[in-house]
Symmetry: C2
Subunit: 173 residues, 2 copies
């Protein structure tokens, strides 16, 4: 069965700094019409960065939508026209101060396929060294932490790490 939904009409609701909201009218496989609320996002990267063979970097930052601090892998949005790998290298340095001699692609995920087109590209960084700390995004406030891998897995099971891209990255190695 062809499950696809053809777009009949698109109404732009909002074009913002980061996201865009569109309301699409689609034709369902049974010929009926339905509305789809769709958020367009530029996509992002997340980096599992190994300080040594069993220690990884985790950043703590306040996430306004959830009104709480979260523990996540270093990550960030892709700038317009930016290569995801370049974005990953940039975000790792901006958020943690580290560059990496090895920086390899692990795969991509989608975060909320029901309403959003965001992809996150996951990279593994190894052989870290201190980069140019002056690159930080001045309006980002971040605590950088180091954890043993076994501790991170335990924190996932205990619900102390709840971020889907961070949890997913472990399955992609």
């Amino acid at each position: 069965m062809d499950l696809s939904e053809k777009t009949i009409e698109n109404k732009n609701i909002y074009k913002g700094k980061i996201i865009e909201l569109n309301l699409k009218t689609v034709e369902l496989p049974n010929g009926k019409k339905a509305k789809r609320e769709i958020v367009n996002h530029p996509g992002g990267v997340a980096v599992i960065a190994y300080k040594d063979k069993d220690t990884i970097l985790i950043v703590e930052q306040f996430r306004k939508p959830l009104e709480q601090n979260l523990l996540e892998f270093p990550a960030g949005k892709i700038e317009k026209g930016e290569d995801p790998k370049v974005c990953g290298i940039r975000e790792l340095e901006e958020e943690t101060g580290y560059k990496a001699k090895k920086f390899n692609y692990l795969g991509k995920i989608v975060t909320s396929p029901g309403f959003c087109d965001e992809y996150i590209y996951i990279y593994k960084a190894e052989d870290l060294y201190k980069g140019n700390m002056g690159l930080e995004d001045e309006d980002e406030f971040i605590n950088v932490k180091e954890f043993k891998i076994d501790k991170v897995k335990e924190m996932i099971k205990k619900g102390e790490i709840i971020d889907a891209k961070t949890i997913s990255a472990f399955m992609m190695e």
Copy 2:
């Protein structure tokens, strides 16, 4: 360091059937102001459903934001006031036709904490039996598939399964 961002102003941009979009002005830890585009979502559930001890159910459905079919665990949105567990049991039956004798909570994740407040509650369903097929959501078009767990792990590594909630669920067992 206190990383939190106080809300100074909130402007509602859109209130839809599923999501809401708000533009918040916040005060950063350094006293400067910034804008935050925030999507409010009712939250959802995802179910890792064991047909037998090494076979699980995967649903294939068209995801309009990505313009492609995705393979995901059975999942769905929480209705207003609905208990997440009740939602999980309902969605499993609507999407696959199965009920479960054992239905246990594994944990919750956040999907896009940078701009969205969506939580997904993850459940493990075991001892499946055929339920009332008449419950399906009439505007959902879904193919139900069965895969061995090892095959699913391989599909994640190969990029054939890219959905973050599906990948995350494996780390939470």
